[in-house]
Symmetry: C2
Subunit: 764 residues, 2 copies
């Protein structure tokens, strides 16, 4: 982490080496003091008078028909105020699309929130109860009698694809295949992305490698469990306090699932204690709304950690088979990838994103990626940083490592030879504009880490990764206050530093000190719409909206100055936070604060507002180097050195960007080495807690070094690219390549847990 | 009150008789159900974890030097967490103007909030304490030892102007007089507004009448006492929940009085249980902020009714001398008005507004109005509906009544002869545009009330009244949701139905059902600036901002339709809530909801935002008819019939407008007949409660009939004029004229309480 400058550091130069005054500096984060003093309000911190506690009854079976639900005993318990089951939710047709453009099945969402007819995984919600105390709510939940007919279950994608596998849904007929199947199966969809002619490609190859890779589904592992409060009133309004990745997402999803007008729901964003993609859906909020409607009281529901593991989305585990053909000089001429991802209980794994990203870092003339989206008796998969990409990259980047060894080439040099660059046609569609992949490879090659000698039982792995990054619908408002301070209003939860980056960009455009800018995260009733926080879109797209709103403010400030000076606005220039009269004859300059102070006399409030669908996100590439040491006695792997290098476009607040790289790497290390769901024979989760589901803690990791390569995105004023997703893409392969090198055997099945590694080393 | 239509009444015609579809209808108020079910959160309804109670120590003396304040005993009491006195507030210079354009003295405001050096009225805050419970806070307040040197006091304006009167401030040197006085006095300012030559005017008069009138200060009598919660955090931010007439006003005033950046304060508006001008200032909020800073906890302070009476602004009482000269035919040729208003402990009575409004309804070629702003040992006067106008109108309209009797003319006919009309030069400045005063007089003359025969001891009075109405800085944002519902965001508390009227105007412009519009009152951190609610400005000015923001939305909707149809936007028309292709060849139409549903695909969120200084408010005129019966035995007056007639421009939601007329009349009746402050010899308030300070209750009043005369304001899209202030202007004189007629003697001293009337009748 770089050194922190204070907001009041007067020693900083007026323009930094990047040409900006504020962009690229490291002011104290606006939300920092609130968070370290415990003032910040997270999802569970909202308390309302008369509030009840909601408790969810969950299926103990991985797959079961719900025969009956008897809530009468629970309702008789003193203090119990309401019970809801699926019968209380509107039944949505499979074609119900909701309003707007959510590419989700609301029918599935509704049935995931509350099981209807069938429970599809251990932990699937089947009923909920609200009572005056948590203890009564739990007691009441235990009194709800659910009769099940237990059905056979399946947990693994390839098992679920077998003809005799238990079928979860009788209305899933595989999409994307011809002819359309007549029999229901667990394969929801087949995807294919192709470029060139792979048969010809492989025929022209001098060397071909191929390998199978498997990985387990892993959880996002956010520290804050899901929590919300909903309060409904007799006029049909609902107010929801929730920790999420998008207050407008919560509003839209709740409205659709509960059958309400969108304007009848107001969502107030709580601070969020981690999301990583896992809070882009709703679980509790619609239940809380319906319990509140039935009871007439505000309802709080808070998951415990076991609920989080049993019933909220991990990302998919799956299988990948990869084949790469190359010329002797290392030129890759053909690539093929076939993957099956576990979607959980409802369709929607990110396998198509795996297909799109796997070969994306490379110029391969002939490639084909095929993916199968497979339902299994696990919780419905949710997004997790660069959804679908890490396990595709694990396969491809491991295969490239094998190829490098076969060709006896340096793995970085092999990647550099084939690296995508400006003008490369990506298999998933576009031609790349200016990108910085090669720059990350150069930086890796030249980094001291790459030449540190290794000791016994040590190995070094390298892997790269890609993520599209996205833009999308984004709004911002910028209000100049009477004293020249400025409120910057956006409506995306501050997950990765958006308050800081919005404040910095506003200060840069307006030409004022960042301490004069107050970034606000607004609720759904007071802001124009913004898409949720995800896809690494916020600093880029919402930042663009902030810049556009600031432009409007600057234009208004110049108009006011022109009015005050009685000159043409074309003679006014905005320079370093002040209006300047170009025709220097008259007056010197008027600062933003001076103009703000008389705004009421010169036309009224000075405010800008921008809403648009921001396009032009710059793709991101990263290259990671990992050194490990394996213990031949125990099979334990220790990461001893780790360097994450990434083209981050322009780093608005470098400390946050470095933190993103470190966080992604840490999560990737956990994915590679330790994290997995352990189910018993009946499909019941056995390790639903952080003691048994092992994410890396500080003592498990070395200091993760970061290198920010800055190749500005040509489509953003300051060159911003998304940075949050890329860093979780390379680590799986980087770690596996390092362990394979250290152990002297290819490790292709994640997690590379000690018993698995020990067995592999013993087998060798 | 007219009949209520439901929002879902499908029988209503598509266009009403006024030419509008929604404007002029009476949908259920958006805040209604929340309020009648007790859900709405008022100032005292906010509760935060760890919150402390603040309690104010108030001066028991009308005028006293503060020698010392010893808080040590209070601080030793278990549970006491903080004490503040004036020493904790920044000392502001008399010239401190704050940021923006508040025409207030922040030095005086600060000293009114917390006495510094001197206590200037009974109830003046001298210290405050915060403790864990209300009981401890009260006990601690009692332990704060304040040593005073009691000084002589003065309560009456004319007494305070005498040479030997105690002088409240040694730095007040009367402004507006020449030469500038060398000696401090209680007269803060002299105002004069003149037109023509009054000496020549009176010389040309055939008849002259003159009279003295006195009135007492009266309280706004809002049902909800002042209440707030403030929570500060270690990063210097303060969040304030308060019931007020303007969240931005609270933010600005707190920032200035507490010495904070404006952006460091976020004010969340509570519902408001009445304000009537009395909540356009702050009393508790800065104290709560400072107690919170000192204690590190949220602070709630709630006034009781006695606090409200002792320490919050009533409007001025005062004295007026009026003289009017007229020709035999009733043509008024000269008018003179001299008034002294009690400002309370700090300068700032609305005497200049009395001077400006007194003769404003009439075309008088020669007039002069002189006013004196006089400080006395009473709470600082605050605004109260049409500040300053009612007691000026009481004098002028009583004098016109006397003149009518002298000329043996019908009092309505006399007013009609002299009524201001389009083109009349008002003495206070402007020439009137289209106004509807004569129309109210016509309506009064023709109203059945005016010809009902009177019985014994009964009398009828007529009076008219005027208010400027204002516009001012106003912002609104309009957001189209994914399902075609619409959020209309403004930042003025809903005092008199602004949610309903904003929703109606938005529905009218957009062409959708009003039930699809959700009006939102936003906090200061999520909205652009709006001036406070006052001057009858909101429906006019903020409504204009809503219309302008809706225009932007309509333009965007047409652009999206053009994009969908791939035609020029100039070929798209917005008609009754849908985009229509003028060149009917292609498609039929696209509704707002249909366009909203695909907004994400056609350019992003559809939102409009308008901020401007809205000008062009239309002046308002009213004419009231009052019938009373007096009891010769007791002197009690009963109002037996009351009709309030007003030019309201266009009534957006007529039920609310009728309510404004009824409410203003009711308050005016109380002012005329009963309300007054009773002080003992030491200047201590004796009737600080609703049992002793008698506002009219339902059983005191007849049904107040209303007639809405609609002469549209040419400067507003729908013709809106302010309506909230005018109705309190005529009642004082209407009642007094009626009582004078019934009693057979001129009643010129308010309130016309039973003992006073009995004495007058006995004297006759």
């Amino acid at each position: 982490m770089g050194k922190e400058e204070t907001q009041f550091d007067k020693t900083k130069p007026s323009v930094n080496s990047n040409g900006y005054r504020v962009v690229g500096t490291r002011p104290i984060r606006p939300d920092g003091i609130e968070k370290v003093t415990g003032r910040a309000n997270f999802g569970a911190d909202c308390n309302l008078p008369g509030m009840l506690t909601g408790c969810i009854v969950r299926s103990p079976h991985a797959h079961a028909k719900i025969l009956s639900i008897d809530t009468s005993k629970a309702m008789k318990l003193a203090g119990v105020k309401a019970v809801v089951t699926a019968a209380d939710f509107p039944e949505l047709s499979p074609k119900h699309r909701g309003a707007g453009e959510s590419p989700v099945s609301f029918r599935d969402m509704s049935r995931n929130i509350m099981a209807r007819d069938k429970a599809l995984y251990d932990g699937h919600a089947v009923a909920a109860v609200a009572a005056t105390t948590p203890a009564i709510a739990q007691a009441a939940a235990a009194l709800i009698e659910v009769k099940y007919k237990v059905l056979p279950h399946v947990l693994d994608a390839r098992e679920a694809m077998k003809p005799k596998a238990p079928v979860l849904h009788d209305d899933i007929f595989t999409k994307g295949v011809d002819p359309k199947p007549s029999k229901a199966s667990n394969v929801a969809q087949r995807y294919e992305f192709s470029l060139g002619d792979i048969d010809a490609g492989f025929a022209s190859a001098d060397v071909t490698v191929e390998h199978d890779f498997t990985s387990q589904c892993v959880h996002q592992g956010y520290i804050e469990p899901h929590a919300c409060v909903a309060s409904t009133t007799e006029d049909g309004m609902a107010t929801v306090w929730a920790s999420s990745q998008g207050q407008f997402m919560v509003r839209n999803y709740c409205a659709t699932v509960c059958g309400m007008d969108i304007s009848k729901i107001r969502v107030l964003p709580a601070e969020i204690g981690g999301g990583f993609g896992g809070k882009t859906v709703v679980y509790l909020e619609p239940i809380a709304i319906l319990l509140s409607k039935k009871s007439g009281k505000p309802i709080k529901i808070v998951m415990n950690r076991e609920d989080v593991f049993r019933a909220t989305g991990p990302t998919s585990g799956g299988h990948a088979w990869v084949r790469i053909g190359a010329k002797k000089d290392g030129t890759m001429v053909a690539g093929e990838l076939v993957m099956e991802y576990e979607a959980g209980a409802f369709p929607g794994s990110p396998v198509h994103l795996g297909c799109m990203t796997g070969f994306a870092p490379y110029t391969i003339a002939n490639s084909k990626s095929v993916g199968f989206d497979v339902v299994v008796n696990r919780p419905k998969a949710a997004a997790y940083r660069a959804p679908g990409a890490p396990i595709a990259a694990f396969a491809v980047e491991s295969a490239i490592d094998i190829l490098a060894k076969k060709l006896e080439m340096d793995p970085i040099a092999l990647r550099e030879k084939n690296a995508a660059r400006e003008g490369t046609q990506a298999a998933y569609g576009p031609k790349f504009q200016k990108i910085g992949f090669i720059e990350t490879l150069e930086a890796a090659k030249n980094h001291p880490h790459y030449s540190i000698p290794l000791g016994p039982n040590q190995g070094r792995g390298v892997a790269s990764g890609f993520w599209f990054n996205i833009g999308g619908e984004s709004s911002a408002a910028v209000h100049v206050n009477e004293d020249g301070t400025v409120d910057v209003v956006t409506a995306n939860p501050d997950i990765g530093g958006s308050r800081a980056s919005m404040g910095i960009m506003a200060a840069e455009v307006l030409g004022i000190d960042v301490s004069r800018v107050k970034p606000i995260v607004a609720d759904t009733a007071s802001s124009a719409y913004s898409m949720l926080t995800g896809g690494s879109r916020v600093t880029f797209a919402v930042g663009q909206a902030v810049c556009l709103a600031c432009d409007q403010v600057v234009a208004q400030l110049c108009e006011r100055a022109a009015k005050i000076w009685d000159i043409e606005v074309s003679d006014v220039e905005w320079l370093a936070g002040s209006a300047v009269n170009r025709k220097s004859g008259k007056a010197g300059s008027l600062s933003l604060a001076e103009i703000a102070n008389v705004a009421g006399k010169t036309g009224g409030p000075i405010s800008g507002q921008s809403s648009s669908d921001v396009q032009g996100a710059g793709p991101g590439f990263g290259t990671h180097i990992c050194d490990v040491e394996v213990d031949p006695e125990t099979g334990r792997t220790t990461v001893i050195r780790y360097t994450a290098i990434q083209d981050v476009g322009t780093a608005i607040h470098p400390s946050y960007v470095e933190g993103q790289l470190q966080g992604g790497a840490a999560q990737g290390v956990g994915w590679a080495l330790n994290e997995e769901y352990i189910y018993d024979d009946l499909g019941r989760l056995q390790n639903g807690g952080f003691l048994d589901y092992r994410v890396p803690v500080a003592s498990d990791l070395p200091m993760i070094d970061t290198v920010l390569v800055e190749v500005p995105n040509p489509n953003h004023r300051f060159g911003v690219r998304g940075v949050g997703e890329v860093p979780i893409v390379p680590p799986l392969a980087a770690v596996a390549n390092a362990v394979s090198a250290a152990a002297g055997t290819r490790m292709a099945d994640l997690p590379i847990s000690p018993p698995k590694l020990l067995a592999a080393m013993d087998a060798k």
